[in-house]
């Protein structure tokens, strides 16, 4: 394990974070709020530490998959821990664990909040919450790849560990250029949404923070009623559309821009994604029409569409309290939570492409029983999917269910009802935010959970955002065995030589 290289990269992550924190400082100064000082202090301290760590480039730059995973997991953990400090300093979230929960929820684009009254926060804190969605959406290390001159193919490991999907492909030969393309698309789409929201009469600050929340598929709103605050079909429609768009694989946009229309629209995942969305909207609209919107089919479809988009893209905005909806609708939303957005998007969840692979490889087993000597391959986009990817996908699914079950068990000690325990974990592990029970639904929050539950949910959010493996690798004793041994040996050797010096 190349610890020096890892700490070098972590230093860069700190530098990036302190630069990002200058934005809330600017917002605070603009609105003349005293809270900006807290952000200023934290930005300065983390920059100091970051610069110390990045002052000297490590001599040995060997970097392998293991290091990549550990770096990514540690970066995200560190970001959540550091990003939470300003909230404590401004006393807006006095409890540090609560602040970390809020920040982890921000960076992992979950959008689950422990705040009972969001509107009481200062503008700069609100901005920081929403901005953390935008940073976390595309990934900090992908951003790092763009600005830090890191060489070698192994830097691909960082991108692989941070970007969602069963197999991460480059768009162009260079990692750095791939990162630049992804961020440009991300930036352009965000800008487009801001402009469209402004056109609908939303105030500047609200448009920017809402666009950040949508782009990262996060879901922190600046109003207690979330997007329901804006009584405008246009604004709610724009947010619905953009939530769906940010849940699409970004390579589709790249293909569209480079005029490879066949490759763009030929994507199997894209068709499944919109297919699932359409079916879910129709089912839910029919289900809620009679009980909730008896006068208007339009309203039923509008609310169904918004809720389906918000859950499948794992955003977590709300215009209506879907935790009150009929059981069938709630269960469809529960399933959508696990399916999640497309691979290579900013959304969370299991990803549509993994679902396709799981279904196809399970069906293959059935055909293999009917035709024992037949040769059966799993194909996606008319290309063979290698057995490694299938193996990775099935073990991902197994681990997801295991972690889910274990987390629900731990959370259930708080003695909430079954729906609350089960959907709170589902909503955080899949980075959605609001659950399907009244207490934690679009109108509720996570404040009433115990400290243990909050810690479990923080872990779930980080594990879910990084697709399980980086966090598991970080906490696996096997990862550290060799390196800890090396450190121990060095210490004991130093002791021995000191001892020998003293007693020759």
């Amino acid at each position: 394990m190349n610890l020096r290289m890892i700490s070098y990269l972590l230093g860069w992550v700190l530098n990036v974070q302190s630069l990002c924190m200058l934005l809330p400082v600017a917002v605070g100064i603009f609105y003349q709020e005293p809270q900006w000082q807290a952000f200023g202090i934290v930005a300065f301290c983390s920059l100091l530490l970051g610069v110390l760590l990045t002052l000297k480039k490590p001599k040995r730059t060997a970097f392998y998959t293991k290091e990549g995973f550990v770096t990514v997991a540690m970066s995200w953990l560190m970001l959540s821990l550091c990003g939470a400090v300003p909230f404590v300093l401004t006393k807006e979230i006095p409890n540090y664990i609560d602040a970390v929960f809020e920040m982890a929820s921000g960076y992992t684009t979950t959008g689950a909040s422990i705040l009972t009254n969001v509107e009481a926060l200062s503008q700069c804190s609100l901005f920081w919450r929403s901005f953390s969605h935008w940073i976390g959406g595309m990934g900090v290390l992908v951003f790092l790849l763009m600005i830090v001159p890191l060489t070698g193919g192994n830097m691909m490991q960082l991108m692989k560990a941070e970007s969602p999907g069963p197999s991460v492909e480059k768009l162009v030969p260079r990692v750095r250029q791939t990162a630049v393309i992804l961020y440009s698309i991300y930036f352009a789409l965000t800008l487009l949404e801001i402009l469209m929201l402004l056109a609908g009469g939303m105030p500047w600050f609200d448009s920017i923070t809402t666009a950040f929340g949508t782009a990262g598929t996060g879901g922190f709103a600046i109003k207690n009623a979330s997007i329901g605050y804006y009584h405008s079909y246009y604004l709610q429609g724009v947010v619905t559309a953009f939530m769906l768009l940010f849940g699409v694989n970004f390579s589709v946009y790249y293909f569209l821009l480079s005029r490879k229309y066949r490759q763009a629209f030929g994507s199997e995942e894209l068709r499944w994604y919109f297919g699932i969305v359409a079916v879910a909207i129709i089912c839910i609209a029919r289900n809620i029409h009679a009980g909730f919107y008896p006068d208007s089919w339009f309203d039923a479809f509008h609310n169904a569409a918004f809720s389906v988009s918000t859950v499948i893209s794992t955003t977590g905005f709300a215009i209506s309290d879907f935790s009150q909806w009929p059981q069938a609708s709630k269960f469809i939303l529960f399933l959508l939570m696990f399916i999640g957005a497309s691979a290579g998007s900013t959304g969370g969840g299991m990803k549509v492409s993994r679902l396709i692979l799981l279904i196809k490889s399970s069906l293959r087993e059935i055909t293999a029983i009917v035709h024992p000597r037949g040769v059966h391959l799993v194909k996606l986009d008319k290309k063979r999917v290698s057995d490694d990817v299938i193996k990775g996908t099935t073990s991902y699914f197994t681990l997801l269910i295991l972690i889910y079950a274990l987390s629900v068990l731990l959370v259930s000690f708080d003695n909430f009802d079954m729906t609350t325990s089960m959907t709170s974990v589902a909503a955080t592990l899949n980075n959605i935010g609001p659950g399907l029970a009244a207490g934690i639904g679009p109108k509720g929050n996570y404040a009433s959970f115990s400290v243990l539950s909050k810690l479990v949910l923080i872990f779930d959010m980080l594990a879910g955002r990084l697709e399980l493996f980086p966090m598991l690798v970080l906490f696996s004793p096997k990862t550290w065995k060799g390196s800890l041994g090396a450190i121990k040996r060095r210490i004991s050797w130093n002791r021995k030589s000191m001892y020998q010096e003293k007693n020759p």
């Binding site: 192994n154 030969p173 260079r174």
Partner: protein, 452 residues
């Protein structure tokens, strides 16, 4: 440049690595997913799995925007075909590896009529390199600049060398205008010397010169300058075929030892009569002695097994006086191999990759004074670079003594209108010159970078 490499074998992978390091955007194509994965996991390139001959696959690899396509698969026909298709599909330049001896006479036809810009034959290039090493027996490494007019040679000073213990200025004496010692390796130390540096026995010294002056220097240094006349080759592959052909052309007595009976018969039919083909196991000591390794001047171990090659050369070096050349194909332990006392070592994959890389550099260098040729010498610690001076800069037209050069850097040779100048303080670089620079710093891209 956007470059597509088809085939991720040894040469393909080496090329991908070197070309990305020089800042090109590479896409590799191979039918074997594992081969693609191996390359993409070590260098920053894009990988595509598929048959590189297919137009669809080439399109996916971005042939529309590619400047260059290099076909390096194991099959000559596939390489030629993919180059032809790429040529029709876009306006890119193509390079193909063609190694079958049957096509060797067709080289110019292929280039002219099929429009393929460069044909590489790794075995032929390796044979050329070995021939060069045998014709300068005292040098253990020879690299060429300025299309072969300047040579950078490396030799080891023997124990009783008359010039050991002298300063370079005194040692060279009359030769000082025609030869320049640019690197001295002493143990693990690397020295870029000045005129007052002392030479010691056992030093590995690299110097720039022409072949004629090299002979007089070897004589002075107490190195055998006698010509090699008889060579034993172990292994009868394609390199051996080309090598035997070349060596017998310039009048060497060549013996090839090959295990496979049928292959021996084949070699006998296609090689000239004065090449002796022996059917037997080259690792059999008795056979080697029987066939006269002890009296041979040169010994080349070029079987397909690297370990066997290294062992054979060690055996010959420790018992006899013959100059040895060892072929290493796959082994990745260059640092260790260089430490062994086995004389010259050649790596066919690097020879091919280096040729193509320098071709790519030449393509790019239509303006400025960029790097034309680059050799990593002394285990990668020192670089020898060749620049073509094409534009006016702070270096041009100023006497060398007035230039403030970087430390650890030596401007060691200028080739002007085909004439070789070993520069002194009063010489200056002029437009149109080819300049060779030896340096320990690795950030030179343009000739003006030599200034401190």
């Amino acid at each position: 440049m956007n470059i597509i490499i088809i085939g991720c074998g040894k040469v393909g992978a080496t090329l991908a690595e070197q070309l990305t390091n020089e800042g090109h955007d590479i896409t590799v194509v191979d039918v074997d997913p594992d081969a693609v994965k191996r390359v993409t996991s070590i260098c920053d390139v894009m990988g595509i799995v598929g048959n590189g001959v297919a137009h669809r696959v080439q399109k996916e690899a971005g042939i529309d925007y590619a400047d260059l396509l290099i076909a390096m698969t194991g099959s000559d026909e596939q390489n030629l075909l993919s180059c032809l298709i790429a040529k029709k599909a876009s306006s890119c330049i193509t390079i193909a590896r063609v190694r079958n001896p049957d096509y060797i006479t067709e080289r110019s036809f292929i280039k002219e009529k099929l429009g393929i810009s460069m044909i590489v034959n790794p075995e032929l290039e390796a044979a050329n390199e070995i021939t060069r090493l045998f014709s300068i027996p005292s040098a253990i490494e020879v690299d060429t600049f300025a299309r072969g007019r300047i040579e950078l040679m490396k030799t080891i000073l023997p124990r009783h060398s008359p010039i050991a213990g002298m300063t370079i200025k005194n040692a060279l004496g009359k030769l000082s205008g025609r030869i320049l010692i640019c690197v001295i390796e002493r143990g693990s130390e690397v020295i870029i010397p000045s005129g007052d540096t002392m030479l010691c026995a056992g030093d590995a010294i690299s110097f720039v010169t022409t072949r004629k002056d090299a002979a007089s220097f070897f004589k002075k240094a107490g190195l055998p300058s006698s010509h090699i006349s008889s060579v034993v080759i172990v292994g009868g592959g394609k390199i051996s075929f080309y090598l035997a052909q070349k060596l017998s052309e310039i009048g060497f007595h060549v013996k090839i030892i090959e295990k496979d009976k049928e292959h021996c018969e084949f070699l006998t039919t296609i090689l000239p009569n004065d090449v002796v083909i022996i059917n037997g196991d080259g690792s059999d000591q008795n056979l080697l002695l029987e066939e006269g390794v002890d009296t041979a001047d040169g010994f080349a171990s070029i079987t397909d097994i690297d370990e066997e090659n290294v062992m054979l050369s060690l055996f010959v070096r420790s018992n006899f006086t013959a100059k040895t050349v060892t072929k290493v194909n796959k082994l990745n332990f260059e640092g260790i191999i260089d430490k062994l006392d086995i004389g010259s070592v050649i790596y066919p994959k690097y020879i091919t990759a280096e040729m193509i890389v320098s071709y790519v550099r030449a393509l790019e260098n239509t303006t400025g004074s960029n790097v034309q040729t680059l050799y990593n010498i002394v285990g990668g610690k020192v670089q020898a670079l060749e620049f073509n001076v094409r534009s006016q800069s702070a270096v041009v037209g100023v006497p060398l003594s007035a230039l403030r050069l970087k430390p650890g850097l030596l401007l060691c040779c200028i080739s002007r209108h085909g004439q070789i100048i070993i520069p002194g303080g009063s010489d200056c670089v002029e437009l149109g010159d080819t300049v060779v620079v030896v340096t320990t710093s690795k950030s030179l891209n343009d000739l003006k970078d030599i200034l401190a």
